[in-house]
Symmetry: C2
Subunit: 302 residues, 2 copies
């Protein structure tokens, strides 16, 4: 689905946030994990079943409040092929509940291989002349260290299927400046990356005023965020780093344009682990935290 | 397994090459794919079964000649969860046949998430106090745009389990120079990346004289290859671009050190699709091409 759909969802819910579904087993309440280890033993199957129940419960609790989810591929791959089933089924379940899905895969490769990734997550696979959906997400994250060749196959899927993508520009982690902030011919690498995002995104403008090509810009670097915001006003920002990684709503205000749009702020551990900090069950706790986060961010951008 | 094991395999077989297993369906002979579409219809299951038979056939045909395989994750992800099973089982089968496995995943993320990737591909997952293997490869490829935070979890697995990794330095694709060759404070970005590879790899030196931290350096850029070779003499190079991507054995000579070691050259389509260019069956054709490639490269580095 296009960034248009994302913006429609954000407006309908009055909520520019996305729930990161990065379920490590230790984030899942024991009553869930113990049920499945009792049934399947201490196996990847038990872990995957726990993750699926937890994800479904979170989606049920969040779907009328939060417009989108962002499953982080790493945590699914950590459970092997069983985890791949959970990723596919979580995406499908979120779609049933009307949520937009950003698969956080940070893939990158040369053209032929990037095509396979783009088809796997945004497009379809052809088997004997029949086109089959695979993971079916609406949007992906991509690393552009390899340049245009590795981006074009994702642009193609965005173009042909009205999907969207976010390119890593300035990441939220501590060491992101090691390369991203060093000077490249007169401007930091993250600025050079943003310039390319503008170039790649120009042909994929949509009616909501934003391009299908967005950028990942960490909330933990408000100054860089402001620079990138001005440089690529038509790119949606996917903003990690709020909450568990330390950024506040104030840090995030710069990510938004004057229309109150232009960014979607992620919280993963903050929402998934909310139950650990209160007496509510995990669903109620996640929902309460999502509402708190929404109000916190909405108040900061007005 | 450590880079030591790789070097031992390379010496034992007199062959510094790796077979890329990137099985797109169109690379697989029709007698295989038709058998499974007849059984399972035009489904991902049929595609995965075809890929598994093809991969096993290739491994059988190559295992006494070629020291290592490099499955490219994208082509497995393209078949959804069924493809994840094929990836896992291909790695296990290659191990049974004594081959070294480099999982070409080009992953990258912030620390917590990079840990999940590192555990999934090089380490183990813990479920209820029990440690379980997941994909179990010996080595991975990694993109370091995020800096040290995203690399450290892979270093940890290399350190604790004697595994190895290859960091993208100069990739083989046409547009790799868009970022990688631009000047960063007095040297191209790919040089800055190589400097970091040296830094990260210093603590992981092994008895064969090489570090567990290697570099991806495309055969299609012999000049850059020479620069990087001098800069990081103790890092093994994973060299894509030979054959189908256009580089010759002469282009690759610079990737090797004077000891005749220091690089492993990949061929994917050249080996997998060899049957399309001759009258041999796919196994004989792959083996003949692997031997031709070995002789071609060995003659160029002596």
């Amino acid at each position: 689905m296009s960034v248009n759909t994302l913006v429609r969802n954000i407006k309908a819910k009055g909520n520019p946030t996305v729930a990161g579904l990065d379920a490590r087993l230790e984030y899942i309440p024991a009553h869930i994990t113990e049920k499945y280890t009792a049934e399947y033993g201490c196996t990847l199957k038990a872990a995957a079943a726990s993750m699926m129940e937890f994800n479904k419960g979170l989606i049920d609790a969040l779907c009328d409040v939060v417009p989108a989810i962002k499953p982080q591929a790493a945590y699914y791959e950590l459970l092997g092929p069983e985890g791949a089933v959970v990723l596919r089924d979580t995406i499908a379940y979120a779609h049933e509940k009307g949520m937009y899905v950003i698969a956080d895969i940070k893939r990158n490769d040369i053209g032929a291989t990037a095509s396979a990734y783009a088809q796997a997550y945004l497009g379809e696979t052809e088997v004997g002349g029949v086109s089959l959906p695979v993971y079916g997400s609406d949007s992906v994250t991509v690393n552009a260290y390899l340049g245009t060749d590795g981006i074009e196959p994702f642009l193609k899927e965005c173009r042909e299927r009205a999907k969207s993508m976010y390119i890593l520009v300035k990441t939220s982690n501590k060491s992101s400046g090691e390369f991203q902030n060093r000077d490249m011919e007169g401007a930091p690498l993250f600025v050079r990356m943003a310039e390319k995002v503008a170039e790649w995104g120009a042909e994929l403008m949509t009616e909501c005023g934003y391009s299908e090509v967005g950028a990942v810009v960490g909330a933990t670097y408000p100054e860089e965020q402001e620079i990138v915001r001005k440089l690529i006003p038509h790119s949606y920002f996917l903003v990690p780093g709020y909450g568990a990684q330390g950024a506040t709503a104030k840090d995030i205000a710069n990510a938004f344009n004057d229309d109150g749009l232009g960014a979607i702020v992620n919280s993963s551990r903050g929402i998934m682990c909310a139950w650990k900090k209160c007496d509510l069950d995990y669903q109620e706790a996640a929902r309460a935290e999502a509402i708190r986060m929404r109000d916190d961010i909405v108040s900061a951008i007005r």
